[in-house]
Amino acid sequence: GAGVSQSPSNKVTEKGKDVELRCDPISGHTALYWYRQSLGQGLEFLIYFQGNSAPDKSGLPSDRFSAERTGGSVSTLTIQRTQQEDSAVYLCASSLEVNTEVFFGQGTRLTVV
């Protein structure tokens, strides 16, 4: 596609349920990022994938959060046993390679009730 695509755009889930958020980066982009934007706060780095290298998971807030990137393209962010504090907009971004412009998707708004 023309841009970074994320699905779903909105997700409401019950506390304790697992959720999966999907990101389709721009075709050919080797770098993929996940960020979280909580209400009234800036973007918080979660995880970074670059090519076939081991991902940088240093931003994941707990072991309930995990992400994978299959075939170097699509990425899935999984949150297990969701909590209310997980409510936020989850943004995915990609770039052609390191040191090039980063393009953001429109995000998935997650609400845990």
Binding site: Y35, G40, Q41, G42, L43, L91, A93, V98, G107
Partner: protein, 112 residues
């Protein structure tokens, strides 16, 4: 870890007036600096970036920013704003393009 401070959470301004959105960062090493804009119900768009060279950087839509190393600042300016500039603006820094550290954002509200 880097720290980015956007001192103003909201900036109201009248149309055609000048505006400055402030950004300060904490770093003792060289960094790359960015401003992103997020229009209502849209994703983040890159407004401008500083990688090296001239400290005055010009971006899209008439915005510019000046990198001041001694003050660790990267303030965003526009001499005359339009209604269409109403959006949230985020300052970001990165040492290596692997991680970006964002400020909490400044909501620019341009009034007619």
């Amino acid at each position: 870890a880097q720290s980015v401070t956007q001192l103003d959470s909201q900036v109201p301004v009248f149309e055609e007036a000048p505006v400055e959105l402030r950004c300060n960062y904490s770093s003792s090493v060289s960094v790359y600096l960015f401003w992103y804009v997020q229009y209502p119900n849209q994703g983040l768009q890159l407004l401008l970036k500083y990688l090296s060279g001239s400290t005055l950087v010009k971006g899209i839509n008439g915005f510019e920013a000046e990198f001041n190393k001694s003050q660790t600042s990267f303030h965003l300016r526009k001499p005359s704003v339009h209604i269409s500039d109403t959006a949230e603006y985020f300052c970001a820094v990165s040492e290596d393009f692997n991680k970006f550290y964002f400020g909490s954002g400044t909501k620019l509200n341009v009034k007619p």
